[in-house]
Assembly symmetry: C2
Homo-oligomer: 353 residues x 2
């Protein structure tokens, strides 16, 4: 795994060895370095129980109403890619972070950091896409900000979206709630967003072009919650892919998670691209998929509901939670052997979102 | 005025003539170009009544609770300056935008875009400052995000903070509520933030160094609202300074505003620096001052209250609102003549916040 990861790191961003005291691209990868930065800098500084849950969204209570609150900056490169662009991604990413907390997304802010010299036509195209994505997701952009930096001090366009949603009173989803016996559900095939970005960036051509799976997952989540409240937690496996997401859940719940390789849906083009590039699809980013940990007796009903939703047609049970003295994620390969699925170690693919 | 502005633009950022179809630094200045971008791109795209109010914060209602919601990205250069840094500024800026809507600030998100190679010690210093500022302002950082971009694709560190506050039920503050006869209050001396940044950036040395006035204004606002609800609107005159803020209010309320130059407090060092640099202090950014438009019969009581607050000791009535067929801001100079105070035309001082 480590070798595979490194080979891509070299392909996409040949950098010198990281010094321990400076920020490297891997600190933004969503993997081990990101987690270290979180633990060493951010968590101690802002110590509070809401942030310490380390979920994709904060759940806060204002006047008795439970709100989900989440922020994401988007620095994806290139701005436009097959299946989406930075505008639609900025909506989907934040809508999904709200949805993973079981929230109904309501309002977004949108803040633009623009590099001097960006074409206004490009800005307009991104803003139009952001607007369409917001409309389709039923959220309103109610406040915004624009900053401009000198040429060479940015990279075309960065967007921050921050979202507010409303969470049902009786709902408790959190990455520390996985229990032995629980099932791991995945809403569809993996790796498409990362491969689409990489292909676009590196000018790779496939017979069947891979499109990003970028999509808003909140209606899928709403359907799942209608059929059962026996969902422990949900996550959208973006940076660092399914492997990093499941490692975080294993870590926070102090459990093991065993995956079945044969159950994980991967489209043929993605599998081929990953083989060619020396990538493990478990580490490649998704922007329209979710992983859910659910109580064993609720798994089938939830799965059935997911499959009836347009974004869950290919949903599967991909594994189960087991008791473990230390947090671990393993996978039983199609050959019947088992291996450890570690957290992403370095920088796999920078600026994926 | 235009000439003065241009002379600084040349001093701080010699750029070629802006093409009409690309983004220039002035689009981020908070002046006329920013307003044009807002009107031509963002407002039409996101048309909704909340955004169209063009206030510093959105007021949204969730489950019957009125929330203020505001976002700001901070790209200030340098990261550290006399009187503050990007961390404290990121808290004060967003707290103030909430406060200007009369909200009690409660929660902030913090999202970091870090340029590869930033020293972790610098990041830690900024995060510590952000933490202290949040604690002092009584707000909690409950959610965050970190992205890393390649060296040369950013500029050390950009921070977005987005804030949520709670607004009293019976309070309506908005820039379209100024009425002829209203008084214009200013909480203290102007121009300190902009001059502190500029001095630091350009290596200018003054006998008495100018410090940024960066400060959280929400307790000052709370005091003002306790004494009277006859406040029409409040604004913190940041980018574009007092002139741009008052022009926006005049525009949205369809009124004229007349200022008295002799009433506007300006510290001697700031006045001297502005003269030396060919700047008009009315256009220089503040980060710890507010402008309030208040009903005439409430002005004295509000002023008295402001003066008892540590951040309002130098508060003044600086002008009044008058009926006008077209929105205009004028100033009666100390010589007794009158001139128009237009909106900032180009880019005065980029990356001030």
């Amino acid at each position: 795994m480590a070798e595979k990861t490194n080979s891509l790191a070299q392909l996409s961003c040949p950098t010198s060895l990281p010094a321990k005291d400076t920020i490297v691209l891997g600190h933004g990868s969503g993997g081990r370095l990101s987690a270290e930065l979180m633990r060493s800098i951010f968590l101690p500084a802002f110590e509070n129980p809401v942030l310490a849950r380390l979920d994709d969204q904060a759940i806060i209570t204002v006047n008795g109403t439970r709100l989900a609150f989440t922020t994401d900056s988007f620095v994806v490169k290139p701005l436009f890619f097959p299946g989406g662009d930075i505008g639609s991604l900025a909506v989907h990413g934040t809508v999904n972070d709200l949805a993973m907390g079981g929230a109904k997304p309501l309002f977004l802010s949108a803040a633009f950091i623009i590099e001097e010299g960006l074409s206004i036509a490009v800005l307009r195209r991104v803003v139009d896409s952001l607007r369409s994505a917001a409309r389709n997701a039923g959220v309103e952009i109610v406040t915004g900000d624009t900053k401009v930096v000198e040429k060479g001090s940015g990279d075309e366009l960065f967007i921050n979206t921050t979202g507010i949603g409303i969470v049902p009173d009786d709902l408790e989803l959190s990455a520390d709630r996985a229990r032995p016996g629980d099932k791991v559900l995945l809403s569809g095939s993996i790796g498409e967003h990362g491969i689409a970005i990489l292909a676009q960036r590196e000018g790779l051509e496939f017979e069947c072009p891979v499109e990003s799976d970028s999509a808003p997952l909140h209606t899928l989540v709403a359907d799942m919650l209608t059929v059962s409240r026996e969902i422990r937690c949900m996550r959208d496996p973006t940076r660092g892919g399914v492997s990093s997401t499941l490692n975080e859940i294993a870590e926070q719940s102090r459990v093991g998670i065993q995956l079945e390789e044969s159950s994980i849906p991967i489209r043929e083009e993605v599998r081929g691209a990953c083989e060619m590039l020396g990538l493990d699809p478990l580490y490649v980013a998704n922007e329209g998929k979710l992983v859910a940990i659910v109580a064993p007796d609720a798994a089938d009903a939830i799965l059935e509901t997911m499959r009836r939703h347009p974004l869950g047609g290919n949903a599967r049970i991909i594994g189960a939670v087991f008791e473990s003295s230390s947090p671990i994620v393993t996978i039983r390969t199609e050959l019947g052997t088992s291996r450890i699925v570690d957290m992403l170690a370095g920088d796999q693919l920078p600026r994926i979102c």
